[in-house]
Symmetry: C2
Subunit: 315 residues, 2 copies
Amino acid sequence: MNIVIAGAGLIGQGWAIVFARGGCAVRLWDGDEAALARATTLISRQVNELENRGLLNDAQAVMARIQAVPDLALALQDADYVQENLPEVLELKQTFFSTLDTLAGPQTVLASSTSSIPASAFSEHLAGRSRCLVAHPVNPPYLVPVVELCGAPWTDPAIIEKARDIMQAIGQKPVTVNKELRGFVLNRLQGALLREAFRLVQGGYVSVEDLDVTVKDGLGLRWAFMGPFETIDLNAPEGVADYCNRYGGMFQDIAQEQTSIDAWDPALVHTVDQQRRALLPAADLLERRLWRDERLMALLLHKRQAEISQDAATS
Amino acid sequence: MNIVIAGAGLIGQGWAIVFARGGCAVRLWDGDEAALARATTLISRQVNELENRGLLNDAQAVMARIQAVPDLALALQDADYVQENLPEVLELKQTFFSTLDTLAGPQTVLASSTSSIPASAFSEHLAGRSRCLVAHPVNPPYLVPVVELCGAPWTDPAIIEKARDIMQAIGQKPVTVNKELRGFVLNRLQGALLREAFRLVQGGYVSVEDLDVTVKDGLGLRWAFMGPFETIDLNAPEGVADYCNRYGGMFQDIAQEQTSIDAWDPALVHTVDQQRRALLPAADLLERRLWRDERLMALLLHKRQAEISQDAATS
């Protein structure tokens, strides 16, 4: 499988690791040759780090599958799939997808990492618009496996399927978003929960610190390996319908009080910020991010081992 | 510390384990003596299971701290804290708290496990109403450490503090809910996210299966050890205010589309149920619950080890 990563910034670097780790031949392209050289160094460092953590086998073989290619036309020869990672500027994407559509062979899937621009906005004018889609990762994609796939109305369903198969083959977790939608699925779920979190702080019901405890030592535990629907499906004897029958009334009542939309109001943001800075001074943010990455890697390794040991137990 | 567990059903059994594991002397009371005997057997089985999993040390010592006491007045002698676990019926709680308030010494904290009845509803009529509160666990409390503490308007803040200290001392994670609130914090956050999840399925944007993937392989990973506020605080260079400045507009736009409250509509529940039953037949629910408990225990052990190894690294 030949993969082209277009744009060698942070997201492009992450994708290069994901595809190479998954066994693909990766051609990394960037319009800026110096950026391309820098990216290769950074990728190599990260790949070694992941090997040390047990999250990747054979760093040398992975690096051997990544090639920096400064000539876009050359990079696109016989490409099966392109993952574009340019800045979030519509005109840039439109122009670049025109170029891709001209240079890439007709079998090549053209995907964008954009989190905010729908595929329809950058592909409408193209002859090959039916092969364009968004494949939105979570950063960093070599740690967080979910990828949201969302086509334009004219995207060929077979192309979505192909992108899904590729993601599955390299060990990512594809989610198909069937129609274009602001924020896709992940950010809409995050926004809904954050909105209630802000509301509870605004009303003085709970501190920022305790709200986080409610999730990390309660709600978030099952969600980290089941998701919200399976969680409620297993929380009533007869499954999700039974659960909704028992608790839907309570949630419906609560919902009446959850319709305000001023979560992102500056005064409220200031309140949350003050509480966070009291818990973690700004000077410690960087160190805490390293802590987060440590914990995330450890959690992923744990999940992988839990899945392996359960597969072994059931086989 | 002398703890009385009143009501020896599933929740009462869970609490008995939590307090005894935390080093407290536990007196387990139930109006039904046969239920009390059954509970002791079930607790012993569970305590041994937790020891086998590495989630509890010295099962024998833990069991030695639990005593079944069929006489309530005797159980309450010199009690520091009572955790009530009767059925969710207001009249039952009102009568029982009257009894508790009469029999228990003035220093005893009186807490209810109720998830749906505010402390004001069962304590208003009591002479000792200032020592009553709700301490709402997540089931099972020996695996999920969060406890929501919520007093009535007349609950003495010192009593909330005392309950909080006790919970902390036994290794639970207390969350203080400052004012009475339907659903407390955990279920309000769960409801907000589920509402958007239902809405996305209703609109045909995503399948039930893929929605769960979005959380368990994406959003839920960081939430399982940080919570939602710390997650966004670390997701922008300058912290949460910076994050809201960058992404608040997007979330605000999304919020406009998230105000409908028909999430728990029967037709929609039916759709979700059909998709879940296609993924997991009703006959497999029981086995999948055992899988969930395995995974939850493994995740908790992982979290404990991750915390220990990081404490060691920073000391």
